[in-house]
Symmetry: C2
Subunit: 243 residues, 2 copies
């Protein structure tokens, strides 16, 4: 196992940070590392808002469901899928441009995620800890207004970055045999059952507060209600009509 793979496998979300601040040059270097990730047809369909204003960070922490580490981390970044820049660039060449397709929504969301994962790992390679914040999609409209996001730009997730003040356990993952399938999709119910058993052990023993649950039971709140039912209307209103 080489050091890069070792670094990946030591990932855990960090939610407690020291007072130490990330130097500006380091932050720029992380973004450049992010930009080096593959991008669909070179479209680079992303922008990152570096939220520095303290009251905006407090407001985002509330809007994301009370996640205080958005305030206490050194730096908070909002990763946005950005179809405004490439479509407008194309339009300025005189082309008649199509916007709002499902394909474009996917391209921009995937581009943003590839870029962000490089930023996350680059940060960890510098001794920083990170936490993705999907909770910003609880209130994407208020957040978009706060950051003055224009049409054809939407916030996909946030990311807290800082120097770790905690070392939580590494959360187990499904067995690789469930994920990697040969030639055709095959069901993996047996692997899920085995994983549920190991997650039950993990939850009963872990450092950060134990509970009686397993993977399948833990997912239930996600699917038993319609999570973030506003996302469709929000995206349509922002110009991602999913045509």
């Amino acid at each position: 196992m080489n050091p890069t793979i070792e670094l990946m496998k030591s990932h855990r979300s960090i939610r407690q940070f020291t007072e130490q601040r990330i130097p500006r040059e380091t932050l720029l270097e992380l973004i450049r590392a992010g930009q080096a990730a593959a991008t669909s047809s070179h479209v680079q369909a992303y922008s990152v808002i570096h939220v520095k204003n303290p009251s905006n960070r407090e407001r985002i922490a509330e809007l994301a469901g009370g996640q205080d580490y958005i305030v206490s981390c050194s730096d908070f970044l909002m990763f946005c899928a950005d179809m405004k820049r490439p479509t407008e660039a194309s339009e300025r060449t005189g082309a008649a441009v199509t916007r709002g397709t499902t394909e474009q929504l996917l391209v921009a969301s995937v581009d943003t995620a590839l870029m962000a994962q490089n930023v996350a790992l680059a940060a960890e390679s510098e001794g920083l800890g990170i936490c993705y914040i999907g909770g910003i999609r609880n209130n994407p409209e208020a957040i978009s207004d706060l950051l003055r996001l224009p049409k054809h730009v939407y916030p996909v997730f946030g990311m807290c970055l800082g120097y770790p003040a905690d070392e939580p356990d590494i959360k187990p993952r499904l067995p690789v045999e469930a994920i990697l399938k040969e030639d055709v999709y095959e069901d993996d119910e047996a692997h899920v059952a085995a994983f549920d058993a190991s997650m039950q052990r993990y939850y009963s023993e872990r450092k950060g507060g134990n509970k009686s649950s397993d993977w399948s039971r833990n997912l239930t709140p996600l699917f038993a209600t319609k999570l973030r039912p506003h996302m469709r209307d929000f995206l349509v209103e922002r110009g991602f009509e999913m045509k």
Copy 2:
């Protein structure tokens, strides 16, 4: 610049590979590294189909628009967003489950991309070259049938992996100042103009065949037609109704 960030910045898509094959244990290690990436609420909404059957690889190369390296690379992986596994796991606990929301499409697509970017970088850390294949979305239905993907699973992109037989130039990226914005979204037209000028130089000088173009002009074919207009209906038919 530490070695991990250096590795990220040396990324280029590789489309020519030697005959050398990737050991099975290495491939498993890459997938495990992928799984170590952050995942929304631990949902791990992805599956990877390792396409070994040579005639299936030929068929996918055709369906992706004649991309021969899908055949000539050592290993071809199809990265699929998988909402089947988590929703069924949740259902087996007795929960009434909601499927097909826009939020779930985003969660699964982003989860898949985060995971894949770790796989890509892990591969590069082992001296391999990779190329993402978004072209599989040209014919997602035929590909889904070929790989027997069930409902609530869709192919997001493929990835070619192998030992590089080529060292193409590294493609420039937009200036970091265009991507990283402070507190609010601000237009970046001036940065785009500067980038167009530098891309024009790049295209006129690069090793792998030069042309007269720039970033903005190069994007036009993507937006001047409705690229992959079938994606919406395809996803709906596969159970991603974007409710």
